[in-house]
Symmetry: C2
Subunit: 412 residues, 2 copies
């Protein structure tokens, strides 16, 4: 007796986010979500890692947290501490690393630690859509810190903090993605990092640092993580979704025990999925650097192709902020193009894109921008999809004007 209706809807909580619709079919040209490249999944190595780790630790599955710490599987915390030390300048103990079910859970934990209904936080002008939706559900106001091509404009942030102070308010945190910003792909300079920490101290506002994409940098290492510079001021989160595989739900929070001990009191999930942790640890402790090198090379190749395709199809109509790493390109259009309408029309021909307003703290500021993810799409899909998008844009808004060189589409 499959049943669609309930008789207890009147008992629902008073504040709920909008219900989800049943899922639609996936789009053929999917530039819409932070998926990764299926060809970058090392299936044979995963099978070897699963076999080894199950042989060694499989019986421990009978015990919560594999009989170990509530912070997570120790070998995976060791992988995190090691890569943070070698690549992000963070010298920390595994006792300061908490494994989470993706960085989305990390975000929930930080929010639960710091936020009350009615609080205010500062978020980069353009940022992660789920950060916004979580805050909205919590009843927390988000103010925008202005961004330029180098990340947060520190004078703008200072003005924001000062204005709040003059109103007798204080932000509960400054949320930033300093290293491969989402969606703009920028890297915050060391100078700005120091200035940010100064502002954090001056106004007594902690920093919530999200480094989900920091492993995927095209050339060399970025400046150290903010956490490396001021562990007493910063809560750091990261993820293996982008580096390894998004369906494995693995992220981490790095913070002193004074914060972590409080977080695990409400991380009441009985631990993070053990097998995801075991496989990731077993694979990454041997292959982290070589895997990341291969993956970034693959992604950089797709980005180059994407930028070429946008240039070919849109010409001067599109202004691409070329990212320094990661999975996304942020594209600005002239005022004549409305991103939401473009996304709706594109969906009809099988092209999924992210309209800028969803990625903007003040939605209107994203009206003429879109985010394109190049992780999942193949080279052919990039060429065909961007050509289709330009055609839809032309048909809907009259730009780009179609020129002779369009005939090359798909042959690049």
């Amino acid at each position: 007796m499959t049943q669609d209706r309930i008789s207890y809807a009147s008992s629902f909580a008073t504040r709920l986010p909008p219900a989800k619709a049943r899922e639609e079919a996936t789009k053929k040209y999917n530039f819409g979500t932070g998926h990764n490249d299926p060809e970058a999944i090392p299936v044979d190595d995963f099978i070897a890692a699963a076999t080894n780790v199950l042989r060694r630790d499989g019986k421990k599955l009978a015990v919560y947290s594999l009989g170990g710490s509530a912070l997570g599987y120790q070998p995976l915390r060791e992988v995190v501490a090691d890569k943070l030390k070698r690549h992000r300048g963070v010298d920390t103990s595994i006792d300061n690393v908490l494994i989470t079910s993706g960085s989305l859970q990390g975000m929930d934990l930080v929010n639960s630690l710091l936020l009350d209904h009615g609080d205010v936080v500062i978020i980069e002008q353009f940022s992660y859509v789920s950060a916004f939706s979580k805050l909205k559900w919590l009843g927390v106001d988000a103010l925008a810190a202005p961004l330029d091509e180098g990340g947060i404009d520190m004078d703008g942030l200072a003005a924001q903090l000062e204005q709040l102070k003059s109103q007798g308010r204080k932000a509960k945190y400054i949320y930033t993605i300093p290293t491969i910003q989402n969606p703009t792909g920028s890297i915050l300079s060391l100078e700005r990092r120091h200035r940010l920490i100064e502002l954090s101290r001056q106004y007594d506002v902690p920093i919530f640092e999200d480094e989900c994409y920091a492993d995927l940098i095209w050339a060399g290492n970025a400046p150290p993580a903010l956490y490396a510079l001021a562990p007493d001021r910063v809560i750091h989160i990261g993820s293996f979704s982008k580096t390894l595989a998004p369906a494995l739900r693995l992220g981490y929070v790095v913070a002193p025990w004074e914060a972590l001990g409080q977080m695990i009191a409400f991380k009441s999930d009985g631990g993070t999925g053990a097998l995801d942790q075991m496989l990731a640890a077993e694979f990454l402790r041997e292959h982290f650097d070589s895997h990341v090198e291969k993956l970034t090379k693959l992604l950089k190749g797709k980005l180059d192709l994407l930028v070429e395709a946008i240039d070919r199809e849109f010409g001067t109509v599109a202004n691409v902020q070329v990212p320094l790493g990661g999975l996304y390109a942020w594209v600005r259009f002239p005022d004549s193009i409305d991103a939401r309408r473009l996304a709706q029309e594109a969906a009809k021909v099988g092209v999924a894109i992210n309209p800028g307003p969803d990625w903007a703290t003040v939605p209107e500021e994203g009206t003429h921008s879109i985010r394109l993810c190049f992780g999942l799409v193949t080279e052919q899909q990039i060429n065909e999809g961007i050509a289709l998008l330009a055609q839809v844009s032309h048909d809907t808004f009259g730009v780009p004007v179609r020129s002779g060189n369009r005939a090359n589409t798909g042959n690049a």
Copy 2:
């Protein structure tokens, strides 16, 4: 630079549960948590399942939710629907099954769906410690429905509902573990199930049914799940923690789409860990019945040994409610034994037990009871641990009086 202190503690939220202490060493005789038997983990079969499923679906790990539904990995939802049909009388579509990160997340989702700060719910007189702690953090009052050896006493529940009504209040749900109650191990009769649903309709209070232990029944099947009898009135959760492995964080919510579509709007975790889901589905679709049969036989053997040991060591001092399945025995002592103090003293000699007040809606009603988990302990640990516990009880409270037959301890 490992750092223990933070400078932003003044920014913490106003309502937080007590911070966790750093972990203590595990106790040798661990009757304290719902762990399972390491010998029951079929490591070779797990390796075969992991190999097969990674070979088939491994590349899908590059895509959130393996490219499928936000409800979870389809083969695992099929396993749930199939076993609910064959064993619990529930005829449901996989579209009504949401895979969660353990039933603890299922509990969070149900709470988020139905509860506001200041609400009241009804919970069985003795119940799951995490249900209490979650409600406390949410600021929700829990009233006790009286239990007897057959589960909820329906006249007592009716009185509770009537009293609330006379106060102009209405409970937001009745939380029940009808099939192998935790901690008492009872099974609610079909007659009582029908009465419970009648009361739910009469007082317009939905039922929150937790069937975490329903797969582990000693003899034959129990009456159908409450959800089978009234899908419009009941939200059903279950788990693979007990049936398969607690470190795999896998549970499920079964409900009509009207409730699930709302829940996945705030299940903002990017999905449940994929590899845990893939392994469980691949293994269980072939081995569910044979695995459960083996496991229940193993657990029943340990329970029999535990009951013998308690009888031998405590005699008439201990009143064991022998469970009809599951992992726990609920033991009542005379008024002279204080369960919290017994747990503290027992911990000093390496014996972990659960003091009754933690498992009681009104803590005082559990003052003289304890919960013993027999999942993890070996036969030898059962005999030695219960002998130690009796010795501690004797030394602390003067009961049980030690008699000649104690010399047999450990040789059973």
